[in-house]
C-alpha cells in the first residue's frame, strides 16, 4: 500500500491520507485487508498519530473501513465493491481542479457521458 501526504499542501493532512487510502482501494485492496497500524504509519509519514486516526475515522464514516479494537482498520466488503469507481472519481476531481473546471461543468460532462 502506498501512502502519500504533502505537508506543504493546503489540504489537511488527514484528508490527504484518506484520499491516499481511497486510491489504494482503487488499486484493488481486498475486503478484510488490514491497513497499517496507526502508530507505524504515523512514524513512517512523520505525522502525528491523531492525524492517521482521524483519517481512519473519516474512512470509517464513509463505510470504507471497519475500526475494531485490537484489529485496527479493516477494509469493508462495501469498499472493495465500489472502490474502482471511487478512485476514478477522485482522479477526475483532482484533474478537473487542476484544469480549473468547476463542479457544475464536471457534473454536466458526466451527465452528457451517461446520456450518450
Amino acid at each position: 500500500m502506498i501512502f502519500t501526504v504533502d505537508p506543504s499542501s493546503p489540504v489537511p493532512l488527514f484528508e490527504q491520507l484518506a484520499a491516499s487510502v481511497r486510491s489504494e482501494l482503487g488499486r484493488g485492496l481486498a475486503a478484510g485487508e488490514r491497513l497499517p497500524a496507526a502508530r507505524d504509519l504515523a512514524s513512517s509519514l512523520e505525522v502525528n498519530i491523531h492525524t492517521v486516526l482521524r483519517a481512519y475515522q473519516l474512512l470509517r464514516d464513509e463505510g470504507l473501513v471497519d475500526l475494531r479494537r485490537g484489529r485496527g482498520a479493516v477494509v469493508t466488503a462495501q469498499a472493495a465493491g465500489y472502490s474502482p469507481v471511487t478512485a476514478i472519481v477522485t482522479q477526475l476531481v483532482t484533474e478537473a481542479t487542476r484544469l480549473g473546471l468547476d463542479q457544475d461543468s464536471v457534473i454536466s460532462l458526466v451527465r452528457k457521458e451517461f446520456a450518450s
Binding site: M1, I2, F3, T4, V5, D6, L41, E46
Partner: protein, 326 residues
C-alpha cells in the same frame, strides 16, 4: 534446452528410474510372500509393537515411491523453465531416485532376512548403510547425467524498477506484508498449540519426552512467526520484519545501489521457503513464489523479499533513493 526436453530428462531421475526400482523390489518381495509364515518384524509402529504382516513391506515401498515421485515430478512440471536448470531443480530431481533406492533396498534386505520366520537381522544398519551407499552412488550418477545447472546468480538480476513519480515535498510511504495462506497459518497454529499442550501434559504426567516436545513446539511456533513478514519503505529506508521481530533487516536509503523486481520460485531458485542465505551474497526472504523486490546494497549484498505488490514497493523505494537528501 527446451522445456520439454529438460523436463523429460529430469523425469527420468524423478519418476521413471525410482518407479522401476520400486517395482522390481516389490516384485521380489511379492514372490517371497507365499513362503513367509505369519507375522514378521516391521521396524516401525508407534505403540512399540514391532510385529506386523509381511505384505506391509511391499505396500509401504509402493506408497512411498509413488508418492515421492508424483510429488517431486509435479513440482518440477510446475516450476521448470526452458534453458539450463537451476541447481535446486537437479537436487530435487535426484531426491526420488535416492529415496526409492534407499527405501526399496532397505525393505528387500529387512524382509529377505525374515523369509524363514520373524528374526531381527543381525545388524539392520548394515543393510541400511549399503542401501544408503547405493542410493548415494546412483544420485551421483544421475547428477553427472543430468544437464549442467546454470551458474548461481551473483548480483541483482531483475529489471531495474521505475521510480514512482514523487513531487518535491511529498512524503511517500510503502507498507505491505506477505504471509502464507490464512488457512495454512490457522492449521499450523492449531497443530503447534496442540503439540504444546500435549507436551505440557506429558511433563505433568512425569514422562521425560515431554521435555523434548515442549521446546520443539516452541521452536515450531517461532519458525511459523518468521513466515509473517511486514515491510515498510519510508524516508528512513527499508525495513523487513517478521511477526515477532525475526528476521529483521534494515537497509538505509543511502545503502541502496539498485532496486529491481524479480519473479522467484521457492523450490527452483532457493530450494525451499523461509529466510535463506544463498550463494552470491543473496539473502532471500521467501514466503511464497511470485514477484519479489530485489535490493542491491552498496556492499554488494542483495536482499530479495517476496511481497504482494512488489512493483509498487520497488517503485517507491527507487523514488525515495533518487530523491535529493535534505
Amino acid at each position: 534446452m527446451s522445456r520439454n526436453a529438460l523436463l523429460f530428462r529430469l523425469f527420468i531421475s524423478s519418476a521413471f528410474v525410482p518407479l522401476v526400482v520400486g517395482a522390481i523390489g516389490i516384485a521380489i518381495m511379492l514372490s517371497w510372500l507365499p513362503g513367509i509364515p505369519g507375522s514378521v518384524i516391521v521396524h516401525w509402529g508407534l505403540d512399540g509393537n514391532r510385529q506386523g504382516e509381511a505384505w506391509f513391506y511391499p505396500l509401504a515401498v509402493g506408497i512411498i515411491v509413488v508418492a515421492i515421485s508424483a510429488l517431486i515430478s509435479g513440482l518440477l512440471a510446475r516450476a521448470v523453465h526452458p534453458g539450463a536448470p537451476s541447481v535446486y531443480e537437479i537436487v530435487l530431481a535426484v531426491v526420488p531416485l535416492w529415496i526409492s533406492i534407499f527405501i526399496t533396498g532397505s525393505a528387500v534386505v529387512l524382509l529377505g532376512a525374515q523369509r524363514n520366520g520373524p528374526s531381527e537381522i543381525g545388524h539392520p544398519w548394515v543393510g541400511a548403510l549399503a542401501s544408503l551407499g547405493i542410493a548415494a552412488a546412483a544420485s551421483g550418477g544421475a547428477w553427472l547425467l543430468l544437464p549442467r545447472p546454470k551458474a548461481v546468480v551473483k548480483t541483482a538480476e531483475g529489471p531495474e524498477a521505475k521510480p514512482l513519480p514523487i513531487e518535491p515535498g511529498q512524503r511517500t510511504v510503502w507498507m505491505g506484508q506477505v504471509s502464507i495462506r490464512p488457512g495454512v497459518t490457522v492449521l499450523a497454529t492449531v497443530l503447534i498449540s496442540l503439540l504444546l499442550v500435549f507436551g505440557i501434559f506429558t511433563i505433568v504426567e512425569g514422562r521425560p519426552f515431554g521435555w523434548v516436545i515442549v521446546p520443539l513446539s516452541i521452536v515450531l511456533g517461532f519458525g511459523l512467526s518468521t513466515f509473517d513478514i511486514h515491510m515498510t519503505i519510508d524516508r528512513r529506508g527499508l525495513v523487513v520484519r517478521g511477526a515477532i521481530g525475526v528476521p529483521t533487516i534494515r537497509i538505509p536509503l543511502d545503502d541502496v545501489a539498485r532496486v529491481g523486481v524479480v519473479t522467484v520460485n521457492g523450490l527452483v531458485d532457493t530450494g525451499g521457503y523461509g529466510t535463506r542465505f544463498t550463494p552470491g551474497r543473496r539473502t532471500i526472504v521467501m514466503i511464497r513464489s511470485g514477484d519479489a523486490i530485489e535490493v542491491l546494497r552498496k556492499s554488494g549484498r542483495t536482499l530479495v523479499v517476496t511481497i504482494d505488490d512488489a512493483q509498487g514497493a520497488a517503485g517507491v523505494l527507487a523514488a525515495l533513493v533518487a530523491q535529493p537528501v535534505k
